[in-house]
Symmetry: C2
DNA sequence: ATGAAAGCGCTAACAG
DNA sequence: CTGTTAGCGCTTTCAT
């Protein structure tokens, strides 16, 4: 069914080598032969056999993306788009290696992508810890890899959440706010030694740094140690919103909808009475008519940057590719409509 | 760097064939040699070369997922998870073939995944029309493919939106509603002959069918021919909510947040005064405290079903794989908290 | 129970 | 300008 170089060669009356050269445009071929070869190739619906070529060239031209999915962790479409666009520009293909929860639990397992030596390099997007077997595979077997969304000593690309939180909080301070609360309904930040994603610490640290800078007392809104289930977030919000010493601004992380909803229901105007700044804006459509102010996660840029760094490592044909310094991706401030100076006493 | 069968063979003092057999467990090997081979493999950190194996076996063991991304179309994580889990259970790998907007516009382009014959079969998830060149590649070159989220004469798997809308509307009717509106802020359904995704027609048709069944007049809430921009959806909702003959229930498609928001702001209680039924629930966390009633899209099930059908086609080693009848995936009704009997006159 | 030979489709190196 | 040779790493077939 599939035509090969040999088929074309026989059809035209040359050898496969000549056909190969003609189709790739390397070497010198007479215009006549070349044309006859191209014609035959089209007529026979020839498509090169990528695997054979890869094998001959000693590289697969495939990059693997290792990722885990659980309830909270997803693979954002813009991230995927950035990765694939950048790979395509260098004629690489992308192969997906999902690691299931079961595999995470059970030691010694790794996806076939890893076991079977199919990728020239790996992109690793993990929120939670990978099993040791996989890390070992990567580190000891010297598979060129780049960590995404994760801080490592080297070869990693991650969002600069600390800087984002710092800049965002500074913005609120510059607007004149003094009672600025850090709102976290999901992750209790009490014991900093327990394993959490780096961004949980960094965001909070950035907020605290900005508050300290301005000699303002940090204050947190969270249900310490337990978090706030999504069914109670608006109700929970109404509670702190109606306190007399309520903050005039809150910094949150992706949970802006319940806050907006609650504000409307207790009669607080946003941003006149309450400013809301979200540290995790993405490309999803806004849920309400209001464009929320905050820091945008350039997922596509992160994907592109990770690929560029991986391909850079792959380009060093030597034995062990050089490690590359960590790269922090700047987040982008988006003004939006939910931040304004705090209400004046006269209001 | 990478150890091969030959390396192990030399180390142990046998031929590569024996090593191959030992590692795969085929053929009869003496327990002693087998053990020495396994030891050596581990010591040398052997990993089989997937491409070489694939080439020898005449199949790549790779399935390609062709998809397009634009602003509205994404690749849902549960879909990806379903696809990959099902593939992994059959030892297939997943390769991604994103088609960019530019490629869609320019004729004659196809991803390397297609050009280079890297996949044994294809899953195609397209919202908008694919360029003819790709369709041709698939249909004329007989690449086994399954269409996802799209209606075709055969080899397709899609959500049964018509049935979902029918069942959802019936549910509202059974609750006692008579003024049930179909709300669509995005797609003007005026000229049924213009190209739109099948689900746009099917959902509306299902709603109309249910209304006709009950001798109720269908009514639509939409900005005919223009749609409603996301910055005006709550405002637009407030308008129809405050009319005297307002519907007591609305059927919508993923735009429930502005409706909830608007209802709160005009003092309509949900579901007491207004029932909301969303035809497109997904796994995203609810934006507010309320769990919206509606039809859930089992993306993971669709992914699994598509893979099963594709692998079934691949299993027929004959020349042209048999076409497979279309498969409509049933959507799942989720009660939620936004549907109730209509308010009584006395209320 | 093990080995020898052959070949999947393609391309690099060297001839001519 | 074109052909010959060889081999990437693996597995199937046939022989011993």
């Amino acid at each position: 069914l599939a035509a090969t170089l040999k088929d074309i060669a026989e059809d035209v009356g040359v050898t496969p080598v000549t056909v190969s050269r003609a189709l790739r445009g390397t070497g010198r071929i007479s215009a006549d032969t070349r044309q006859r070869i191209l014609d035959a190739a089209q007529r026979l619906r020839y498509r090169p056999h990528g695997l054979a070529r890869s094998m001959r060239q000693g590289r697969t031209g495939i990059v693997g993306l290792i990722f885990t999915t659980d309830d909270r962790a997803t693979l954002p479409t813009p991230l995927l788009a950035g990765i694939q666009d950048e790979l395509a520009s260098q004629s690489y293909e992308l192969m997906l290696g999902k690691i299931s929860k079961a595999q995470l639990a059970e030691p010694g397992t790794a996806s076939a992508l890893l076991r079977h030596w199919m990728a020239d390099g790996l992109l690793i997007n993990h929120q939670i810890d990978l099993p040791g077997s996989i890390v070992q595979l990567i580190e000891e077997d010297r598979v060129p890899a780049v960590w995404m969304n994760s801080k490592h000593a080297c070869n990693c690309v991650y969002f600069d959440d600390a800087d984002a939180a710092l800049r965002a909080t500074r913005h609120l301070i510059e607007l004149g706010h003094r009672r600025i609360a850090y709102l976290d309904y999901s992750h209790p930040i009490e014991r900093l030694d327990q394993p959490e994603h780096y961004s949980v610490y960094d965001r909070f640290a950035g907020y605290v740094a900005a508050m300290n800078e301005a000699d303002l007392p940090p204050q947190t809104i969270m249900n310490h140690g337990k978090g706030v289930g999504w069914t109670q977030r608006a109700a929970f919000s109404r509670e702190w919103m109606t306190r007399p010493d309520r903050p005039t601004a809150v910094v949150c992380y992706g949970n802006n909808a319940p806050v907006l909803f609650a504000a409307q229901s207790v009669g607080l105007r946003v941003p006149d009475d309450l400013s809301i700044l979200d540290l995790s804006l993405d490309d999803a459509l806004p849920v309400c008519d209001v464009r929320v102010s905050g820091m945008y996660l350039p997922q596509e840029a992160l994907g592109r940057a990770a690929v560029r760094r991986l391909l850079q490592r792959l380009a060093t044909d030597g034995d062990a590719p050089e490690p590359i310094n960590p790269l922090a991706i700047d987040m982008e401030f988006r003004p939006g409509q939910t931040c304004a100076p705090p209400p004046q006493p006269g209001d």
